[in-house]
């Protein structure tokens, strides 16, 4: 059976089609103002790309913050459960998932069989998430895609003391005006995010192996900082950003045991 996962996140929408153990294709687009429309659009685009009729898709599971807006889905499942399922599908040995998306950051502890054992999630504040990095990207005129590579050139990361997005931005601006190098500011930002994630992770404990998922996993500089901060190796797969949609497609296929 071919199944699909639709992950409507706060910034990006992801869709993925799965046939057995094979990923047929995936797409990423901005969610924008209307999550329902975004879901319909990205699903249509995915079907067109892989050349499959809607009727050939046996089951659709939606996830992400807009999951309940996806009317054509057969079921809505939280992104925490889907990220655990996606990570387990990619590597059944994974015991901890760090998922950093547009507005949420989550630490998910995985039990045998890919089930969620425990989780921690940021609450009111979006500091240290994708949106935080977007704000910094604008302040420093560095494209997000260059954050990882540029920060890795830093020899002495600048200390960033504020964890609030708005105050951190003004702190960054004052560092810029002091002439601190951009790579040092970037490395400092990554360290401040890593320590924030580490304190959340300490609440539930981090068991190896660890996988990072979500759009922010594409930032290698942050992954490095997290590895140093947590003293653990972190794997990132090419499917990191669509991992939630992957998990949704896996669960649409009838769960983890039947894989």
């Amino acid at each position: 059976m071919i199944t699909a996962g639709i992950d409507i996140g706060s910034i990006t929408a992801k869709a993925l089609a799965l046939s057995g153990n094979e990923i047929l294709g995936s797409r990423v687009a901005f969610t924008g103002y209307n999550p329902e429309q975004a879901a319909a659009d990205i699903f249509g685009a995915l079907l067109a790309e892989i050349g499959i009729e809607r009727a050939s898709i046996g089951a659709v599971v939606s996830t992400g913050y807009g999951r309940n807006a996806v009317r054509f889905a057969d079921r809505a499942i939280t992104e925490i459960i889907c990220h655990a399922a996606g990570a387990y599908f990619q590597d059944p040995s994974v015991r901890t998932v760090i998922d950093i998306g547009g507005q949420d950051s989550k630490i998910i502890s995985i039990a045998d069989g890919g089930r969620v054992r425990d989780f921690a999630m940021n609450d009111k504040c979006a500091a240290g998430t994708g949106r935080f990095l977007e704000v910094m990207s604008r302040a420093m005129e560095v494209p997000l895609d260059s954050f990882g590579e540029m920060s890795r050139r830093s020899k002495s990361p600048a200390p960033i003391s504020n964890t609030c997005t708005v105050f951190a931005e003004s702190e960054v601006i004052s560092l810029i005006s002091k002439g601190v190098q951009r790579q040092d500011i970037l490395a400092g930002l990554h360290e401040s995010i890593a320590s924030r994630i580490a304190s959340m992770a300490a609440r539930i404990g981090v068991a190896a192996p660890v996988m990072m998922t979500g759009g922010v996993a594409k930032n290698g500089g942050l992954v490095d900082a997290l590895e140093r901060c947590l003293s653990v190796e972190i794997s990132v797969t090419p499917n990191a950003q669509v991992n939630g949609a992957l998990g949704a497609a896996v669960l649409a296929a009838g769960g983890l045991e039947k894989k």
Partner: protein, 372 residues
């Protein structure tokens, strides 16, 4: 059910109830923050005890007096007073509980413009004989302070009558809890919340009449579908968040019991109707399950939450703690460990008076419920 509809209205706007009670010749309204307030003495003085639940609105005035690391109940309560929304209060009572409430008492006395002010300096350790004797003295002093301030004598028979009324109310609320535990679909979590909240702000006789009607209407027998719901116990201090119940119910779970100040800690433990009424009252406040600002056996709350979860066949426990509530936050780790040791799953929601965005909360609760 008309009775339930009325109680929902009181819970949604307790201020309107208190104003109406007062204007229809009821007497004085006495605000209080905490269930260690011996409200039976206040009622015996002919006054209406009115629990203050903080403010549902934005803070504009309270933050000039209190640090941002005070809990939203304390800040919200002060906000209500400073904004004039509590101008129907004739008095406020502050029992000695957490640090923030004590300091709020000082700020309140100076800034809240409520004519009468009482500090009831309770003992902190509640498991010693000397504390028991001290508690009796504290209540006697509160009784005479009330008499002096209101110019009304509080005779022993009036106190005994209020004790009997309290016990009636406790039995009714316990009955409603039992009915819900037996059949979680017999009453919504939001309605139980409305019952508890209105019991804390209403004339007791009037509340008893309405709550009895609600209890009588619950009827026996389990509803279809109740068996597939996950059974949840709520733990913490004040839960003044009716939306939590509807979100949980949407997630396939139902609250079957609680360990809350706005719940079992308030109504469990009847008061002896024999002997000196003030001594009986003091004994009940000594014996009740402690709140984290008080001390009895160091493991009392941990044992209690495990006992509740077992007795109520709970699938999981949800701790709802107000952000910046130190006493609850310090008790949480060992209570969670007690549950872990008993194999009972739990989750912590640290919230303020205003809930986080619904999507966020729904994601957490749905995930937790689906792991049970």
């Amino acid at each position: 059910m008309e009775a339930m509809e009325f109680l929902r209205g009181v819970a949604a706007d307790p201020h309107a109830y208190a104003r109406k009670w007062k204007s229809s010749g009821g007497g004085r309204v006495v605000g209080y923050f905490c269930t260690y307030t011996p409200d039976e003495l206040i009622r015996a003085a002919g006054c209406l005890p009115f629990r203050i639940f903080g403010s549902g609105g934005n803070m504009t005035r309270a933050d000039a007096h209190l640090q941002s690391y005070s809990c939203s109940l304390v800040r919200g309560g002060l906000e209500e007073a400073l904004s004039g929304r509590l101008d129907f209060l004739d008095a406020t009572v502050f029992p000695h509980t957490c640090d923030s409430i004590q300091r709020l008492s000082d700020i309140w006395r100076l800034s809240a413009c409520v004519p009468l002010h009482f500090d009831v300096v309770l003992p902190v350790k509640l498991n010693t004989a000397s504390a028991g004797r001290y508690m009796v003295d504290v209540f006697k002093k509160f009784r005479s302070d009330l008499e002096g301030a209101t110019g009304t004598g509080i005779d022993a028979e009036k106190i005994s009558e209020e004790i009997r009324n309290s016990n009636r109310m406790k039995r009714i609320l316990a009955g409603i809890y039992e009915a819900r535990s037996a059949d979680p679909l017999s009453i919504s979590g939001g309605d139980v919340y409305s019952l508890i909240k209105s019991s804390m702000v209403m004339d007791r006789g009037e509340f008893i009449g309405l709550a009895e009607e609600v209890l009588a209407g619950l009827g026996p027998g389990a509803s279809a579908g109740a068996g597939s719901l996950k059974r949840i116990v709520l733990a913490g201090g004040i839960c003044s968040h009716p939306d939590v119940y509807s979100i949980l119910e949407r997630s396939g779970a139902h609250v079957v019991w609680d360990e809350l100040c706005t719940g079992t800690r308030y109504f469990e433990g009847e008061i002896s109707e024999k002997g000196d009424p003030v001594e009986s009252l003091a004994a009940r406040y000594m014996d009740r399950i402690v709140c984290p600002a008080k001390h009895s056996d160091i493991y009392a709350r941990g044992k209690n939450i495990v006992r509740i979860a077992r007795e109520r066949k709970a699938d999981g426990v949800i701790f709802i703690l107000l952000k910046f509530c130190d006493p609850h936050a310090f008790d949480y780790p060992y209570m969670k460990e007690s549950l872990d040791a008993g194999g009972i799953p739990s989750i912590l929601l640290e919230i303020e008076e205003k809930l986080p965005p619904e999507g966020q909360l729904l994601t957490r609760l749905e995930t937790f419920v689906s792991t049970l």
